[in-house]
Amino acid sequence: MNNLSQRNQAERRFKTYGFLAVLVAITFLFVLLFNIFSTGISAFKASYIGVNINLPAQSERSDINPRKEFKRQVYEMFPQVKTRSDKRNLMSLFSKGAIYEFEELLENSNKEDINGYHWFLAHADVDMYIKGTVERQGNEAGRINPSRMQYVDVLVEQNLIKLQANQYLLHSADSREPELAGIKGAIIGSFYAILIAFIVSFPLGVLSALYMEKIALKNKFSNTIETNINNLAAVPSIVFGLLGLAIFLNFFSLPRSAPLVGGLTLAVMTLPTIVIAARSAIKSVPPSIEEASIGLGASRIQTLLNFTLPLAMPGIMTGTIIGIARALGETAPLLMIGMVAFVVDVPGTPLDPSTALPVQIFLWADSPERAFVERTSAAIMVLLIFLVLLNLLAIYLRNKLEKKW
């Protein structure tokens, strides 16, 4: 009896330890997520400055130099601005992108007259001040010196600076100007890379798993291969990057920085994961089903295609998606094959130079510009969302395929 109460106590203690362990893990996760979300959420908004534009309809628009015209419109709002340096300070509140926005406005206006306030992207320095990322000390805030601050104060007073949805973050590629930088290029690059990784590694992985599990003779040679595949799954990913560099870039002379090469490298990296998952899925198909099929006169291949593969498919898909999700979050191998380049264009094809989401995060995290901090977190948020979506897809596919029977 004495023994029993001790055992019960031990059980309770063990339960508590387990619960505490889970609690600590969840706390870490929440702290991390909270940190990222609280920093990153502000990047989805950007500061815009209102400028009163007055362009009569009769003007011949093709004669207009947008740069000069935009400046003229801005100066008209501040009649006191006369000197060159004052003008430069005033214009420095706007992003370089404001000129393009103005150009776009001109094009879209269709030669009708433009009147009233239009909103143009502010410089990242202003944006950070408006969002409170940098503290105001006296007459300056971060890189906004007093001679710039006087205009900011006027604009704020007149309600001419407001936070709007950031048009650039999700719709443009990287840029030197933080306020113009976006992750579209990285998203498309990542998409191409994991698409290629999937197309290459899925059939290769499933076929090798089928062959090793069901067709190959079990001997020393196959045992060696099996052991090595298990070892490959544990090889650090940067080694696969070196492999990709040596084979795809140096030997096959494929274009540097291209998602094609990134995808192929990630495919090589994902292959062992898929092979291992597929093998265990194939192994767990009940042999009685295969015997029944063979017993009815089906050939080995017919049995494999009709029963083994469909029954193993949920497991194979789950393993594959987990492998692909890992590939999506992988940075190191992509650094080796040059996907770390600064690319300002959204890639049109998998052969165009591009970067990938995790590499973009790495690049931004590495950038000295303080305005990139919130964008780094925003990019991490987007990456996490994609990872969660992939995992949901894995769960959905598994349930759907299994529900068939």
Partner: protein
Amino acid sequence: MTEKLKISIKNLNVFYANKQALYDINLNIMEREVTSLIGPSGCGKSTLLKCLNRMNDLIDICSINGQIMIDGTNINDSDQDPVLLRSKVGMVFQKPNPFPKSIYDNVAYGPKLHGIAQSKDELDSIVIKSLSRAGLYEEVKNRLFEPGTGLSGGQQQRLCIARALAVGPEIILMDEPCSALDPIATAKIEELIEELKTKYTIVIVTHSMQQAARVSDRTAYMHMGELIESGFTKNIFSNPQHQKTQDYITGRIG
């Protein structure tokens, strides 16, 4: 009873790698009779049964020498196709193993595989005929398109028999078909075997001597990979010639 030789096994030796599983088996199996193979566990009954439709081909380390003649052809000849052989020699396994498909598809799989049915109607009629022969049609006719795995154990085993019948075999091998079933389901299967032997040659492996006595015309007793004794069931059980057979059927070994 017309006595026509269906299967003749001569000097059959089977090896798993270096281990010999069957020693010099000689056995004749008659057409449209039930022959049961009995003996203690590990005596090679199932191995012998699997040799008859070359299921042992699937095991890499298994090698066979000797002769198995079915209708006068050696089934292990290099020009014999195991796929054709298996359509002629159907098999029912120890554990009911319906495919994870509908009842209809379970039965239709074999005919589809061998291209037996020319049309959908013909396939339908094969499925219905096979299910009726297996005594299952009345029970499942309203749910042909529900999963076969949803049936009870006994029904599943009859579904497996129907599946084997659908290919149009001449011989049916049964590897302890009732070992996973309750007495009522067993009785139904035994009844079915009784009916089926009017059309098919049946070889059944069983652990139950009562079952062997009930359903089979002839019995072969095996021990440690050797065929000790074979003959009419009533003779084997009432008047065994060999000491080992007597020990086994009286319950002293096995």
